[in-house]
Symmetry: C2
Subunit: 159 residues, 2 copies
Amino acid sequence: MTDADARIHEAFVRQCIELAAEAVTAGNEPFGAVLVADGVIRHTARNQVVTRSDPTRHAELLLVSEASQRLERDVLSRATLYTSTEPCLMCCGAIYWSRIPRVVFGCSAGAMGALAGGSLATSSRQLFSHGRRPVSVIGPILEEEALAVHRAYWSREIP
Amino acid sequence: MTDADARIHEAFVRQCIELAAEAVTAGNEPFGAVLVADGVIRHTARNQVVTRSDPTRHAELLLVSEASQRLERDVLSRATLYTSTEPCLMCCGAIYWSRIPRVVFGCSAGAMGALAGGSLATSSRQLFSHGRRPVSVIGPILEEEALAVHRAYWSREIP
């Protein structure tokens, strides 16, 4: 990864971390995601699990769902999904089915799970390795910044 | 499994296979799912991937999403999700996060994938084994009936 690439990844991951903080302000869990194609943000999403009473409303799945309905397939097929935290099992599946070929994440699922008492910490690289189409994964990026939002949230929410 | 249990599972799996056939009639892929709690069907879903231009609209994920918004949590926590085909990565994640503790499927992901040219055939038992909460998995049940819908569909759709 060149320095220029690293700076681009950091800028978009930081935007995801901001969306994660906004999700908390809105009463949800601290996760945010951004879809970038041709260097431009095409869609953003914040976790909505609590306010919509729906455990499938993770930021990444919501992003895939909405972007698939709004954007052309060939945009998705050259897009990068940025996310504040490494995507879970469900979201890796959604990304794979959408044909988005690249994921860049802030903190790892393992590091987040250790803070949140997470119960299904899986490696996205390992999950994608079962697919026929490759999905490349870059991360962690700005892991400490990404974890800070989780540290504040999960220490507050869990008695 | 007692004979009585086997007959109950067969009846609900057969209903999923009928929903899968209805999904095809509606222009979608052949997958259907049913949520049962206390012996009663509480919700049903058909695949809607094609008509909604959304790769996350698998029958099982849709079922989890809608049921989570409509039913009390304690109903989900004693429910069984029946499905015509073993759930994929994405749907296993959705089931896990919803706290539904049991899955019964018609045909296996491997057998369906062999017909459909499937590209991410994963074992639901193996995926759930990474969780802290157990999710029990029963199947295949009526595998030949469940595969018949796929055989008709994928041989028609793929040139």
